[in-house]
């Protein structure tokens, strides 16, 4: 096993660290990439990774199975290391489930893709008077602006279409990348750094002239954005986007590739790769990363697709991320949230599919010091309604995440029109999950 000793860290300390991880997962060598003690400190920074299941995942086949019901479908539940059962097609995740909890009593009101996407991301239903920020933009605003040494964007969205920063403004818009880690237009091609310097010197002449011309603040704002863009082009932190620096075994663990004989390098492999990039970004100090994993709009042929495509990738990805973060000592600081715009009908349709369903479904949340291995709330025996009395909204999930991230729940932001907006739409941190 090739290993590099990180600068400034004693080899003994490092080996002890490694030994701990080797005991649980001998095949993985997750920590060979640690660069410096500074990186060690960054690990203690709070962050959130949102695993976004676009299309609307059938949570009745993943987190809240209904054996014995006509709605139960083909899959069986299995025991986990937590105090709950999940799908038999999630065995790796079952083994780390003591770190993750499932909220089984989501009852949301939006069963349209666009509206559900907006509602789950922001905590607010769409409203023609205001555009609400996705929670990632809120975290960027609350935590990102305080991280002065962070040179890369504080809200990164991998593989997805992006969400609006709303009244948080463009500075908190998600920075969109695909999971190749290539940042569009971030290099100057064949031109060397000398040319960049020359260009910036010349730019400074014109810019400062305009800034000094009594024309308001915008000239300076332009200069500030350019400074950030140049930082991005030249920053060492850009390495965080380069998943290719990881060992093959690590990537394989995230994608589940060996078990699938390479078959998972399609859509499923993308998910693992994106998660691995998310971990690298969080490690570099990025406070919010969203990872998009699509293909859940399963109106037909739901079980075949889940069993052969979606779930193996999902299972490998979640399990590897959880394990990796734990081994790096980061799991207590990084909140993991898993959700889609809604879930799918308990009833199985004539095409062996499930349609849109928002009345009773599950999201997963873990890490960040939240309690793991818990099932919060429950649905009835056929999965068609919340049976536990209390039901939950996305605002409650984001309030729980806020609690874990150290963002005070009574935070109020102000829309551009001066309207007060409560954090997470005034949601409540879920008591079963917080200390």
């Amino acid at each position: 096993m090739q290993m590099t000793t990180p600068d400034g860290m004693s080899r003994r300390h490092f080996m002890r660290h490694l030994a701990a991880s080797a005991a649980t997962l001998p095949a993985m060598n997750f920590i060979s990439h640690v660069q410096a003690n500074a990186a060690e400190l960054k690990k203690k920074q709070k962050a959130c990774i949102l695993m976004w299941m676009s299309g609307g995942p059938p949570t009745i086949d993943i987190w809240d199975l209904k054996p014995g019901s006509k709605n139960g479908g083909e899959f069986k539940p299995i025991d986990t290391k937590g105090d709950l059962q999940i799908s038999e097609h999630m065995p790796k995740t079952a083994a780390v489930m003591d770190n993750l909890s499932v909220v089984r009593a989501m009852s949301t009101r939006e069963a349209d893709h666009g509206r559900g996407r907006y509602y789950m991301h922001t905590g607010y239903v769409p409203n023609p008077t205001v555009v609400h920020p996705a929670f990632g933009s809120v975290v960027s605003y609350e935590l990102g602006t305080k991280r002065k040494d962070l040179e890369i964007p504080s809200f990164v969205s991998i593989g997805g279409g992006g969400t609006s920063p709303g009244f948080m403004g463009a500075a908190h818009a998600p920075f969109l990348v695909d999971n190749s880690g290539n940042i569009r237009n971030a290099d100057m091609g064949e031109l060397g750094p000398g040319r960049l310097e020359q260009r910036l010197n010349m730019l400074g002449v014109v810019e400062d002239n305009f800034i000094g011309s009594q024309r308001g603040e915008s000239g300076q704002a332009h200069k500030d954005i350019y400074k950030k863009a140049v930082n991005l082009m030249t920053s060492k932190q850009m390495a965080a986007f380069k998943v290719s620096e990881e060992k093959k075994e690590t990537l394989d663990m995230y994608t589940g590739a060996p078990a699938q004989g390479g078959a998972m390098m399609g859509a499923g492999g993308q998910f693992g790769r994106s998660l691995l990039m998310a971990r690298r970004l969080v490690e570099a100090g990025v406070p919010f990363v969203e990872v998009d994993f699509g293909g859940w709009d399963l109106h037909a042929n739901v079980f075949e697709t889940l069993k052969n495509q979606r779930l193996p990738a999902l299972d490998a990805g979640i399990a590897a991320l959880t394990t990796d973060l734990k081994q790096r000592g980061m799991l207590d600081d990084v909140v993991l949230v898993w959700m889609g715009e809604f879930a799918r009908t308990p009833r199985i349709n004539q095409d062996v599919g499930r349609d849109h369903w928002a009345a009773s479904w599950s999201t997963m949340i873990g890490g960040g010091g939240l309690k793991g291995g818990v099932a919060v709330g429950e649905t009835d025996k056929d999965g068609v309604s919340v049976a536990s009395g209390q039901s939950y909204q996305p605002g409650d999930i984001w309030a729980t995440a806020s609690h874990a991230l150290g963002i005070p729940l009574d935070t109020v932001h102000t829309s551009k029109r001066g309207r007060p907006m409560k954090l997470a739409n005034g949601g409540t941190a879920i008591k079963e999950l917080i200390g």
């Binding site: 403004g169 010349m202 011309s213 009594q214």
Partner: protein, 532 residues
């Protein structure tokens, strides 16, 4: 240095020039605008900034009317022109330029359907409709009437796309109601969908009264069989008339159900099924001496030129939100109606008025006129605006001569334009009603300007490129530097800019690279990307 010199000269002339400023037009409405704006200066104890020099003003008026910066040839000709009426003549020329139609088609297409085309909406259809509207300078009330009453195929009658874009959700016409009132009446009733407005007189039942005018609107999304895939593909969409009679029902906050009938500001129409409600609405919208559609259009057009309307937001006119210059807004609305809703005439009045011809630099005597800081707009100087994505693209094309080198046909160049715009606006995500005069750029946008293909091509020295021609042409270094400044910024370099550019040239063996980098710097500058 230059700024101070200019200020001194013009302040000295100010007392004599108080009422004397003219672009060369003697229209009485323009004089009326000048008087009312000047009266407000006095009332508020501020003084206007000096008149903008020709370079500054020309760039601005070209961007505002035609949507792109002037070409270097046009700049040189205008600066050399000794005609005292050259400003008013330039305005007329710009209003007759095909770029006028293109620019205003872009502006109103974006307002009606957004920068990103919603599902089942034809951007081409919408553009075709506005191309005809602005190309023929159709009366604005006819344009609005066509949009509100539109029916049919989304390419055959492009007007339907406005309503189609508001029919993305099955929402009983809520979005249609909110958008129509906001865009064409300058009224924000959308809050009253759910409750009485906290600050004004709009009541919840009024929202649903407006809404009931739209309830006969239906749409059909046609699909067609694709023999290759064996699937049904999206075909065209259309708006159809749907049977609807009687009241609409809505829920008060108390939970009480209420009814609302089609009533427009107290004017009732017959709620029977035989009434064409949208036709009635269009008729009522343009009735009277000073209808809301005239107020809304005047306010929005003023805001387009000045970066600030008479109200803020521009689409929230009403007793709860007093206009900065209420009499002027009223007067312009009345005159706009009298002109036969002539959009070009409205722009002529605005572009010829004194305030629009001032510099965008503030002075000590008016620095508190700062709407960006929440102050009431007094129009003592022109406020800085961000270029739109389209203005930026089209200006880059002009600055780099790409339109003349004929590297691709119209269709291909339009496709390149749309691709670039999509990339640029993808992460924009602003509330479409927000006015912003600060740079709202994102890092990807800055990267796109710094390293993207368009600017890369612009600074290439291939033959036929602007830079290539300039460098291989006649002239010494000073002249070449001056011409680059004129090309990108529409002005000559200042002394210090010139000497710094020269020193870059001196200190470098690769002269070509210095010119390329200078042009790059000019195109990437704040001065380039702002309309000021």
């Amino acid at each position: 240095m230059a700024a101070a010199g200019l200020a001194v000269v013009t302040t000295g002339a100010a007392s004599a020039a108080d009422t004397a400023f003219t672009t060369g037009s003697s229209d009485v409405i323009i004089q009326e605008i000048n008087k009312q704006i000047r009266d407000a200066y006095k009332d508020n104890e501020v003084e206007p900034s000096p008149v903008a020099d020709d370079s500054e003003w020309m760039r601005r008026v070209c961007l505002d009317i035609n949507g792109h910066i002037p070409s270097v040839e046009d700049v040189e000709a205008f600066l050399a022109d000794k005609d005292k009426a050259k400003r008013t003549k330039l305005i007329d020329r710009l209003l007759d330029d095909p770029a006028y139609t293109r620019n205003w088609t872009t502006v109103w297409t974006n307002l009606c359907i957004g920068q990103q085309t919603p599902r089942r909406v034809s951007r081409d259809g919408m553009q075709k409709f506005f191309r005809e509207a602005f190309g023929k300078n159709r009366p604005w009330k006819d344009v609005v009437s066509d949009l509100v009453t539109a029916e049919g195929h989304y390419e055959q009658n492009g007007a339907v796309n406005f309503l189609l874009a508001q029919m993305q959700d099955q929402d009983d016409g809520v979005q249609m109601t909110a958008k129509t009132t906001r865009l064409f009446l300058g009224m924000q009733v959308q809050c009253t969908q759910c409750h009485n407005h906290p600050f004004n007189d709009w009541k919840q039942d009024q929202f649903w009264q407006f809404n009931s005018f739209f309830r006969q609107t239906g749409k059909v999304d046609h699909r067609k069989y694709n023999p290759k895939t064996g699937r049904m593909d999206d075909d065209y969409s259309e708006i159809i008339e749907r049977d609807f009679a009687g009241p609409v029902y809505f829920e008060k906050r108390s939970g009480l159900m209420q009814v609302a009938y089609p009533i427009y500001f107290g004017s009732e129409v017959d709620p029977a099924g035989s009434t064409d409600r949208r036709k009635e609405l269009a008729r009522l919208m343009s009735a009277g001496e000073k209808p809301m559609i005239a107020m809304a259009m005047v306010n929005r057009t003023w805001s387009h030129f000045f970066g600030q309307g008479f109200t803020r937001p521009v689409d929230d006119i009403g007793p709860h939100n007093p206009a900065t210059h209420p009499d002027l807004l009223d007067r312009l609305a009345v005159e706009f109606v009298k002109s036969g809703y002539d959009c070009k005439q409205l722009m002529r009045w605005i572009a010829n008025c004194e305030a629009y011809n001032l510099t965008s630099r503030s002075t000590k005597k008016n620095e508190r006129d700062n709407p960006a800081a929440g102050e009431t707009a007094l129009f003592t100087h022109v406020y800085v605006k961000s270029m739109t994505a389209e203005q930026l693209y089209d200006s880059l094309i002009v600055a780099t001569n790409a339109h003349k080198s004929g590297r691709s046909g119209w269709e291909q160049s339009e496709k390149q334009r749309q691709d670039w715009l999509q990339q640029f606006v993808r992460t924009f995500g602003t509330d479409d009603g927000e006015e912003s005069n600060s740079f709202d750029g994102t890092i990807p946008q800055a990267l796109m300007m710094m390293n993207g293909d368009l600017v890369k091509d612009a600074v290439s020295v291939k033959s036929g490129s602007h830079l290539g021609d300039l460098l291989s042409g006649k002239g010494n270094d000073v002249q070449k530097i001056q011409r680059l400044y004129l090309t990108a910024l529409g002005r000559m370099p200042t002394k210090s800019e010139l000497s710094k550019s020269q020193s870059f040239l001196k200190g470098n063996r690769d002269q070509l690279a210095v010119y390329q980098d200078l042009f790059w710097a000019l195109l990437n500058s704040n001065e380039f990307i702002f309309n000021h």
